[in-house]
Amino acid sequence: MVGLPSSSRKSRSLEPAIVRAMLGLQILIDGFAISALYALGATGFTLIFGVSGVLNLSHGAIMVAAAVAAWALAGNPLFGTYLGALLGVGVGVVVAFATYFIVVRPIQRSRAIAEVEKEIFILTGTLLWGIMIQEAIAYLYTSNPKTVRPLVDGVIGIAGVRTPINELVTAAICWSVIGLLWLLVNRTRAGKVLLAASINPRGVTLLGFELSSVYLLVWAIYGVLAGIAGVLLAMFLGVSSDGIGPLTASAFSIVVLGGLGSVSGSLAAAYVVGYIETITAYMISPAYRTIPVLLLLVLVVYLRPQGLLGRR
């Protein structure tokens, strides 16, 4: 769904075997970075579903909103790259909360909507909300692609493959954030409540925890995750408001592939998707890069609807 890094690195014409080995290494490195980004993007999506049963179709819009905010702020000498990126993540959190308070919570609490139909209403509502964000971004900042200056400049050679340092930094940040999330969920009290809520919401309520504050926490975490993923994406590949639909679709497919609500499944699926796309783009043609994943998705959903590591 996302274009390859623009810096196409052609290996000098050596012997074919070496060329092939270098291509393999390049796919390995590029695929790793892209997959890490996919993993971070999909983690928030699956977390929200796991805890509150919400499939947030404005996911891509929140990512791009954070990215565009970082782009606009980083361009201002007052803020600079680092503060701009940080504030961009902040905007991601704000938009995530807006999504929750304006769209999701009113539907969850509505008496006019039957319980069985809430899921579909949330899907439709967040979809519309995503379109609104997309149009607002396009109106304020045009739909041209935007690239944020990377946190770290420069290029490094890994066994002869020239790799932008930013690519490695991106992967490192993604994995650190995912690691922090793991610590939060498994090692802190608030995180354990969150985990419990995803397993049995009613049980958590009976133990005296306020479910609505659990939801607030999970939406805050979600906003941070989506914000970071969006800003990193803007540094790595660039974002545009037209790319919002495909972004949501790829997060959705990764999450379904891994199993709805399963974070570890999403991480595994992100790597499967990232590598299949990268291999297709390098070995066959960039034009076909999404097709094998779509076919795989259809196959998995037919044969194993609960996904690779799904609970149900």
């Binding site: 579909i120 509502g125 034009a287």
Partner: protein
Amino acid sequence: MIALRAITRSRLVWISLLIVAIAATLPLYVSAYILGLLTLAYYFGVFAMAWDLLFGFAGEVNFGPTFLIGLGAYTAGILNSRYGLSIPVCVVAGAAAAVAGGVLLALPALRLRGPYFGLITLVAVLLLQNMIVIFASVTGGEIGMTVTDVLSIDETENYEYALLFMALSGAILFGLSRSPIGLILQASGQDPIEAAALGFNVAKHKLAAFCVSALFSGLAGALLIFYLGTASVGTVVDISVGVQVIIAAVLGGRRTILGGAIGAVFLIVAGEVLRPLGELSTFVVSAVALAVILFFPAGLLGMLMRGREMR
């Protein structure tokens, strides 16, 4: 027979007939430009009504109405532009292709729950879009293709065709939804296990719903391109077109069938009225649709009916 009597007694039907009759006289006093807009809206109305049969009644979240529409449109378009077949043959072939696509979608729908099936329909659209771009020599790729024949070059005639088509489709879909079959569909959508326990063949009814929905989507898609004279991804396949169809159906009122037509006309007219806002018009339309969902979940028609005679 009971169903028939209930239909003739329903006030909604008579009001609808009156509105269609008034709409038929519009060419006498409005400009060709407005007629063109409404023609488009009527085809969209059929898309939305066909979608409502699946969503409102069978309870299937179909994010990819454009998969069925696009299949119908492109099949008809390719047969016409490459093989020179006449319009009726092309339209029938397009509808047949859409029904085949509907059966293809129905198979996973019978096994999967809400979000999973929704994703499959989304993937179906993306795959179709990819195929159209890859086989650009046949389909015209991203630019689209021109069909050789058109329905008519006269705006009034085009308008009357579209109105007639929408009225007939609406009547059939509405009749179906009020028939025992519609009730069984509704039951299987809400609680498939109980419906099956009552002795209804859920799979058979859902499959039928998919076929009927696909039939009308395909017909409308094929007719639409013979009205426009071109078929392109942006007009009949793109996900944003599907989103418009969904918005129209939800806006008009789920589970009302006729609401879809109202929603489609409202959407297209609103888009036109808001044109001075430029890029913001889509924003406003989405905001209005969101507000309707949040505050009037039953939709425009549902709000008017207030459940008095609809149930």
